[in-house]
């Protein structure tokens, strides 16, 4: 027989439940109130012992490649000074997403930009260039970052979308033979053709004669018989775009069969494994001895720290070139005259004896029409800052980027000025 015990038991259980909910609400509210005003506008000082010469040695800067900016252990004040005064009039919250290659640079820029524009809050993301483009087009972010220019079909579908170069970057091909392996320290020579065959599964082992043929005799002898695991991007990636552009430019078969693009499915499935984001590529490579991956140059320092080797790639002139600022600059110079007003241009496989073959503009994808005056002001301020101050060596050398030539910078500034509400 049921006893009328409901009063005491029932009430206390409900009370427990209500108390639990109340506690959660109070804790959340308390934490929020306590930290508001401290957490949101905190800027981190980015450490740099960088000299502004072209061949600078950048000390290990641990730029966190996620949605956070880390400070390294030896905290020092920013050595960047500017006569710019703080502007508190412009106030907005901006969202940025897209290229993981541009991502570390964005975080560097924002850390200093927000000292001069403290009321502009920018959240960055690294969901991949394709995502950056589509989100900018859809209006879910204010600034999309992309290593890839807008394709013809994208441009036609989105007439009000601009691609504005902010800097020049490049891409390396990393490989890993396992911890402590001597081959990690050797720069192997690779051509677009060899890479194309690796990425479509035709070449499957490191000691393949075609690979050996490109190396010096002593290096060729060291190549192991391990299988090659090509790693490619799972997200829609500008790195995939420029890598496959290189493959298409240098290998006829790849150009005809696969082409180039940001889609993860450009590269044939079933060959190798996939990873998300440039940082994911590094992580995957670190657990895959015998792996090879295309990684953005802003992650070169991290790749070096992790003990990966990187390749000397064959350029249009047939030379195997190193990924230095001078070689990247050579590629830019060779292509300078062909940059149109809308700045949709490829810098891949540029002519010139020393031109590095995988070089690209880093684009901000923005809509010509901005939703409000405050957002317009913030976007323009930020983009202008990137193109002018952000292109100084202090920032770019930390990510191995190269500054926009002044002609291109002018075109970019003109595009930024053309934004309106």
């Amino acid at each position: 027989m049921a006893k009328m015990k409901l009063t005491t038991r029932g009430v206390s259980s409900t009370t427990i439940g209500l108390v639990v909910v109340l506690v959660i609400v109070v804790v959340a509210a308390g934490a929020y109130i306590a930290v508001t005003g401290v957490g949101t506008t905190t800027t981190t000082t980015v450490i740099s012992t960088v000299t502004t010469t072209a061949t600078s040695t950048v000390t290990a800067v641990s730029t966190s490649t996620s949605t956070s900016v880390s400070t390294s252990t030896s905290v020092s004040t920013s050595t960047f000074t500017s006569s710019e005064t703080t502007n508190t009039n412009i106030s907005a919250t901006l969202l940025e997403d897209g290229s993981s290659l541009l991502y570390p640079a964005f975080n560097l820029w924002i850390a200093n930009f927000s000292q001069y524009y403290p009321n502009v809050h920018i959240t960055t993301g690294s969901g991949g260039s394709g995502k950056g483009i589509s989100e900018a087009a859809a209006g879910t972010v204010n600034i999309g970052a992309s290593d890839a220019y807008l394709t013809i079909s994208q441009a036609n579908a989105n007439p009000g979308l601009l691609n504005i170069p902010l800097a020049i970057s490049a891409q390396q091909v990393n490989y890993y033979f396992g911890s402590g392996n001597a081959l990690n320290k050797i720069h192997l020579n690779f051509s677009a053709s060899i890479l194309a065959q690796i990425y479509n599964g035709t070449i499957t082992t490191w000691n393949n004669p075609q690979i050996a043929a490109l190396q010096s005799a002593s290096v060729a002898a060291q190549l192991p018989s391990t299988a090659i695991t090509p790693i490619h991007r799972a997200d829609s990636s500008g790195d995939t775009f420029i890598f496959t552009s290189y493959l298409s430019a240098g290998d006829q078969y790849w150009n005809k069969t696969y082409g180039y693009g940001t889609s993860p499915t450009i590269i044939p499935s079933g060959v190798g494994i996939t990873a998300t984001g440039n940082s994911g590529m590094l992580t995957a490579l670190s657990t895959t001895p015998g792996g090879i991956a295309y990684v953005g140059i802003s992650y070169l320092n991290t790749a070096n720290q992790l003990g990966f080797g990187y390749a000397h790639l064959q350029n249009r002139a047939g030379n195997f070139v190193d990924i230095t600022a001078a070689n990247i600059q050579a590629a830019v110079n060779a292509r300078l005259s062909s940059v149109p007003t809308n700045e949709t241009a490829s810098l891949i496989y540029a002519p010139g004896a020393n031109s590095y073959p995988i070089v690209n503009f880093e684009y901000a994808i923005v809509k010509t029409t901005q939703p409000s005056a405050s957002i317009l002001a913030a976007v323009q301020a930020f983009l202008t800052w990137d193109i002018t101050r952000g292109n100084l060596g202090y920032f770019l050398l930390q990510v191995h980027f190269v500054a926009l030539p002044s002609a291109v910078a002018q075109l970019s500034l003109t595009q930024v000025a053309s934004l309106h509400t």
Binding site: G130, I133, A137, T151, I152, D235, G259, G261, T265, T287
Partner: protein, 336 residues
């Protein structure tokens, strides 16, 4: 005899209508999702036709021209082709491996927990099992990346290749730990607590007269279990397996983190990287937006439709076998 309906007074009627309106939100949500997915995938269904189910590819087509093609009244990019077989195989194989491991394992655990464990141990064991069932799948994925992938790469895969290598599917290169095998293992781990808790309850309900009768006849405990307990719960075991299958089919995050990723290729070996329909939706969504014709998005909706249909089939099968419905199995803890 027909129960006599007492006339309902106005207050009760209002209450009934009010709660009915609220309860209607469930079918409304359900239909909203179903209708949306179906309608959104219609263009893709027309464009892809039956080829969607017989080929394996995910090609957005040529993005670098302004030209488009029209097929069956639907616009797409030249060269666009979508086929779900690769994803379907990835989904079904990983779930099949998971079930192959999980069902016998769950029965063993259920037997132990229901029958063998000393009373003191039983309660904590059940609590641990519930805990295992409640762990979010990202954490399974985290553990997968940190522990399971290196383990498969260094020990399990080479070992399996050596022992079973005479079968082509199990032989050969075992380079990375990311692949079908790892997915199957982690899904098995996720699905086991669900199956075993349902089966355990069913075992506990076995009429003791039957068991005691068998014991009286001189059967060992195992023989009792084999001939009485397990057959008695046959339908529940089948139903619980279907439940587990439903869970494994829809699992996204853990498989995304350990699967290796391969959108169109069929796994040639058990160590090959795979994508499932669920992980493909996560990975391919943002690249799908590049297609100005929208066909890629519609095709993803078609993938979602197929995924939904497959999980629905599994859950309905479970419903038939497990009395009281699917949610009951999950909320049965509330009945202790």
């Amino acid at each position: 005899m027909r129960r006599q309906r007492t006339p309902e007074n106005r207050g009760d009627r209002a209450y009934r209508l009010a709660t009915a309106a609220v309860a209607a939100s469930i079918p409304i949500f359900m239909f909203a999702i179903l209708i949306f997915i179906f309608q959104y995938s219609l263009p893709a269904i027309r464009f892809n036709g039956l080829g969607f189910f017989t080929t394996s590819s995910w090609n957005l087509g040529n993005l670098n021209t302004a030209a488009t093609v029209v097929k069956n009244g639907v616009t797409g990019l030249p060269g666009a082709s979508y086929g779900v077989i690769g994803l379907l195989v990835g989904t079904l194989f990983s779930s099949a491996i998971a079930l192959l491991i999980a069902v016998p394992t769950s029965i063993a655990i259920a037997l132990f927990t229901a029958e063998d464990a000393p009373r003191v141990v039983r309660e904590p064991l059940v609590a641990l099992e519930d805990l295992l069932a409640g762990i979010p799948s990202v954490i399974y994925g985290l553990w997968g990346i940190t522990v399971l992938v290196p383990l498969v790469q260094s020990t399990i895969a080479p070992g399996m290749s050596k022992v079973l290598g005479f079968v082509p599917f199990f032989g050969g290169g075992t380079n990375t730990g990311y692949g079908l095998l790892t997915c199957g293992l982690i899904l098995a781990l996720m699905v086991t607590p669900i199956i075993s808790s349902t089966v355990r309850e069913s075992f506990a309900k076995t009429p003791s007269e039957l068991k005691e009768g068998a014991l009286a006849l001189g059967c060992t405990k195992w023989e009792v279990q084999r001939r009485i307990t397990i057959p008695f719960s046959k339908t529940t075991i089948a139903g619980a397996s279907m439940l587990g299958l439903g869970r494994a089919l829809g699992e996204t995050m853990a498989v995304l983190m350990v699967g290796g990723g391969s959108y169109a290729a069929l796994p040639s070996k058990i160590y090959s990287p795979i994508s499932t329909m669920a992980t493909a939706i996560v990975s391919l969504l943002d690249s799908a937006f590049q297609d100005p014709t929208g066909l890629a998005l519609y095709s993803l909706a078609e993938v979602a439709l197929v995924l939904f249909a497959v999980t629905l089939a599994a859950n309905m099968a479970a419903r038939v076998f497990v009395s009281g419905g699917v949610t009951k199995a999950f909320v049965s803890r509330s009945e202790a």
